[in-house]
């Protein structure tokens, strides 16, 4: 049972990451591959504040969100000048640079040692070391973020985003300040990732830079591509699938020396097959 609860917590965290990234990639059409960086900043803010100062979990989450909003706005401004594939490459760059900071600014982040002993949240005396309680907390945040995202996508703001995705030049002609929209959704998405980061840090009680590199951003991107871009439920389904898949494969009886590598082969082949036969993802409306 604990195993299932653990998987459910991981799933919820990644669902938050998927839903938030979908706002930028699926709705605004911006191929961002730096989500892990904001996830990481949220995680580190919580980790540092909870282990070195008296700030509580929720306080640290708010602070993490503030820091991420400031930083992602700056990054978003720079990125708004890039188009298409270059946008993606620019985000690769930012992720790498922020990862290097996690790794090398040792006075702040403890670098490769990571930060251990991160305490659980304190709220009304609820024992969050009990994973079931933590799961409820995570699900509450997932619910909030899901509804906020839904609200955004169904609002006029959301319609402008979709228009930017379909044909940015056209909508500029109508007088819309497209950079404003792009930067705004970018920092909103980043802020949500920071929330996921805070939850992750407190749940695992230990974080180190390795959880926030480029490969993690790619993982989150694959979640929403598989689940279906521009579909929030798709992002959740994608997270479910990608968290469950490696676990399911643990039970398939491959011979022990090649078991782990075989799982990678299966994972890669599944990606290819899904792209070949259902590229809009499981629930996508937006055919990539």
């Amino acid at each position: 049972m604990e195993y299932l609860i653990h998987l459910a917590i991981l799933f919820s965290i990644y669902a938050i990451l998927g839903v938030s990234l979908n706002l930028v990639v699926g709705y605004a059409g911006l191929l961002s591959v730096t989500h892990a960086a904001f996830y990481g900043i949220g995680a580190y803010t919580t980790a540092i504040l909870l282990t070195k100062t008296g700030v509580g979990f929720f306080g640290s989450m708010i602070l993490g969100v503030i820091i991420v909003i400031a930083l992602s706005s700056l990054i978003g401004i720079v990125l708004s000048k890039f188009k298409g594939d270059y946008y993606a490459l620019g985000t690769f760059g930012f992720n790498t640079i922020i990862f290097a900071i996690f790794l090398n600014w040792q006075n702040l982040t403890m670098g490769p040692f990571g930060i251990s002993g991160i305490p659980k949240p304190e709220l009304l005396g609820i024992n969050f070391a009990n994973n079931f309680n933590f799961l409820i907390l995570t699900l509450i945040f997932l619910g909030l973020i899901y509804f906020v995202s839904r609200f955004i996508t169904k609002s006029p703001f959301g319609r402008v985003l979709k228009a930017i995705r379909e044909d940015e030049k056209a909508i500029v002609v109508f007088g819309y300040n497209t950079p404003y929209f792009k930067i705004t959704i970018f920092f909103i998405s980043a802020a949500m990732a920071a929330v996921a980061g805070s939850l992750f840090a407190s749940y695992l009680t230990f974080i180190d830079p390795s959880s926030f590199r480029l490969t993690e951003s790619v993982f989150i991107l694959v979640i929403i591509i598989l689940g279906g871009l521009a579909n929030l439920r798709g992002a959740i389904l994608g997270a479910l699938f990608l968290i469950l898949l490696p676990e399911i494969l643990r039970f398939v009886g491959f011979p022990p020396d090649i078991a782990a590598q075989m799982r990678q082969v299966v994972y890669g082949v599944i990606l290819i097959l899904v792209m070949l036969y259902r590229p809009q993802g499981l629930m996508g409306e937006y055919k990539l």
């Binding site: 191929l31 720079v78 000048k81 890039f82 188009k83 298409g84 594939d85 270059y86 993606a88 490459l89 620019g90 690769f92 760059g93 930012f94 790498t96 640079i97 290097a100 900071i101 790794l103 090398n104 790619v218 991107l221 694959v222 591509i225 090649i258 590598q261 075989m262 799982r263 990678q264 082969v265 994972y267 890669g268 082949v269 599944i270 990606l271 290819i272 792209m275 070949l276 590229p279 055919k287 990539l288």
Partner: protein, 288 residues
């Protein structure tokens, strides 16, 4: 100041490797306009092929190299024929191709790991006793010298191919506009298939040279690819000379950069260079 000549040499050596990857990548990108994540794995494929034939089976080294390079070309060609081409026919977007290539990369790396284990291996026979040459106040090994020479030769060869052959003309036409090229009667799919063969073979060659210089491991491809891509972009995507120029520039910036800043920031420096170019000169140095 006596460090400077060696740093210059180091930059050239690094640049030569990046150039080989960039040449292959640029060649393929020019014709297909998509970011093939599996390009780096071709380097590993050739490296391991040579390892198997030359070291394990003991066959003649030149034969092993030729076979290794050809094998990478064949695999690249196969990926195009069975995965990328069907996807292109359905007019999917670049993101789908990107994810499909990610799947291919994951699966191929895992297969190599199954066959050869993940241990780092070196292709050279005598360890640490390479012939050294003193050049301009610095030291360079025989393998490194050969690498630089081969890069120059390949560049020359590709230029000849692109500008003095019918095939090259067709490739250039496709790079300009694939639709028009098809209308004019060029069998674009066949040409692109060959482009994949050549480009992948080039990556394979780079892998073999790296194998002799330092060594091979199944996951060596991605890091190489990213550097190759940075080189291509700063030099000018799709431009043959651009890739090489960008590669050497990257080599210089990295090596002189860590002269003044500590070694652990190397990757951050490379990506900062990329972002600077993306902001101020996204078309790269060579493109107008």
């Amino acid at each position: 100041m006596e460090i400077v000549p060696q740093l210059i040499l180091n930059s050239i050596i690094a640049g030569a490797i990046y150039a080989l990857i960039a040449l292959g990548f640029n060649f393929i990108y020019g014709a297909t306009k998509f970011f093939n994540l599996a390009h780096g794995v071709m380097a590993a494929i050739s490296g391991y092929a040579v390892f198997y034939f030359a070291k394990t089976l003991g066959s003649n080294i030149y034969f092993a190299v030729i076979f290794g390079v050809a094998l990478a070309g064949i695999v690249g060609y196969g990926l195009d024929k069975f995965i990328y081409l069907p996807l292109r026919k359905r007019k999917v977007s670049n993101m789908v191709l990107l994810v499909a290539s990610l799947g291919a990369m994951t699966a191929l790396q895992a297969v190599i790991a199954i066959l050869f284990t993940s241990r780092f291996k070196t292709l050279s026979q005598n360890i640490g006793t390479q012939k050294l040459f003193e050049v301009l106040g610095g030291v360079i090994t025989q393998t490194q010298l050969i690498t630089i020479l081969i890069t120059v030769l390949i560049l020359a060869g590709l230029v000849l191919l692109l500008y003095k052959t019918q095939f090259g003309k067709a490739v250039r036409a496709i790079s300009d506009d694939e639709e028009v090229a098809r209308i004019v009667g060029i069998n674009t799919n066949k040409i692109i298939g060959r482009v994949f063969f050549i480009g992948s073979a080039l990556a394979g060659l780079a892998g073999i040279l790296i194998g002799f210089d330092t060594g091979i491991e199944p996951t060596m491809g991605l890091g190489l690819l990213l550097k190759g891509v940075i080189a291509s972009i700063i030099g000018g995507v799709g431009n043959i000379y651009g890739g090489v120029l960008g590669a050497f520039l990257l080599g210089f910036v990295e090596n002189f950069g860590i002269w003044k800043i500590s070694g652990e920031w190397k990757d951050a420096i490379a990506f900062t260079l990329l972002i600077v170019f993306l902001i101020f000169r996204p078309r790269g140095i060579m493109n107008k």
